[in-house]
Subunit: 218 residues, 2 copies
Amino acid sequence: MAKDTRDRLTAAALRLFRDVGYQATTMRRIADEAGLSLGNAYYYFSGKDELVHELYVSVQREHRDVALPRLVERAPLADNLRAALHAGLDVMTPYHGFGTTFVQQALPASSSASPFSAESGNARAMAVDLMEHVVATSKVRLPSGLRDRLPDLLWLLYLGVTLHWVVDPSPEQQRTRSLVDRLAPVVSKAVALSRLPVARGLVDDVVALTQPSSGALR
Amino acid sequence: MAKDTRDRLTAAALRLFRDVGYQATTMRRIADEAGLSLGNAYYYFSGKDELVHELYVSVQREHRDVALPRLVERAPLADNLRAALHAGLDVMTPYHGFGTTFVQQALPASSSASPFSAESGNARAMAVDLMEHVVATSKVRLPSGLRDRLPDLLWLLYLGVTLHWVVDPSPEQQRTRSLVDRLAPVVSKAVALSRLPVARGLVDDVVALTQPSSGALR
């Protein structure tokens, strides 16, 4: 089946990226590891960059599947945000050894694995949609200008947490776990303060900063 | 002179990293390009990672030299912060083609070029000190808890702007320039709001999040 073959190739690529490094892994070696011919491998993936992108998409999909059942209706935003961020770390844990290489490959804006690339549109939409669920499920009152943009802002926060996790040298990335525990209530508190009239100007500015049309960030 | 020789090696390394890429650049090639023997090159630098680190340090030094004269005594924080961030972009501009490779090399926490590494202590101290000057020069009133930590927070902001600049595909990185213009007043507004009693809890939390002793971020 096509999906099985794709999965075998991505699993083989991940093992090799982890064990021998990205540079030393060739498409031939990936094909061998997956028990496929080189031609067959190229039928599914144009090259290593596309395999890295596939891993990115599958992590987003798994993140969504793991996180959604953990969200609690009418729970505080801090609790649901914390649950969603920890779910992301849970899903990424097996990939930590490959994390640096992944970010290195995804860094150029021209890389299809970049979270800001056109090719990552689906993965990005899935991740932002998860944050939309976090907001919609939680008991939280928001100024109207912020409501629409909050899922995007939380997604940027999640990217920041991911970057912290990638470079986290602590055992089992405990520092990032601790960061998530402390970050979620701070975000929740900032969101609560955003409803005060005195904060309105600042909230509008932050929202404007991250508008897609403004050209910043993506 | 020792300093001249170091400068020749770093300049040669930068040219090669930019022209033929980091992977293809060997220490022998760097030595040849600088007109030195391989042994002489190794006398100054243990390898490519250390040369990348040297570039990082020299950029921080130049950033400081260019930014300090642009700070205006008693100017609003937004103006001085904007000046300091643009100065950083000015200094980094010749390196943009190498920016992705630089971040790729600096990404592992174990890399000496990482802004969080022990080896980068001096470069980090210089960069934080520049932000200290930005705060000290500006006309701004701060809650006491925030005063001590603000230079560190602004340095983290500068790292974020740098990351945005590295992946910025727009001509001459105009998006990042525009981001700086819009970001500086937002930061200044957030700092002004931090003095309100209602924001005190949030300010304390943000400060605690980024305390070095908390283990987060570094």
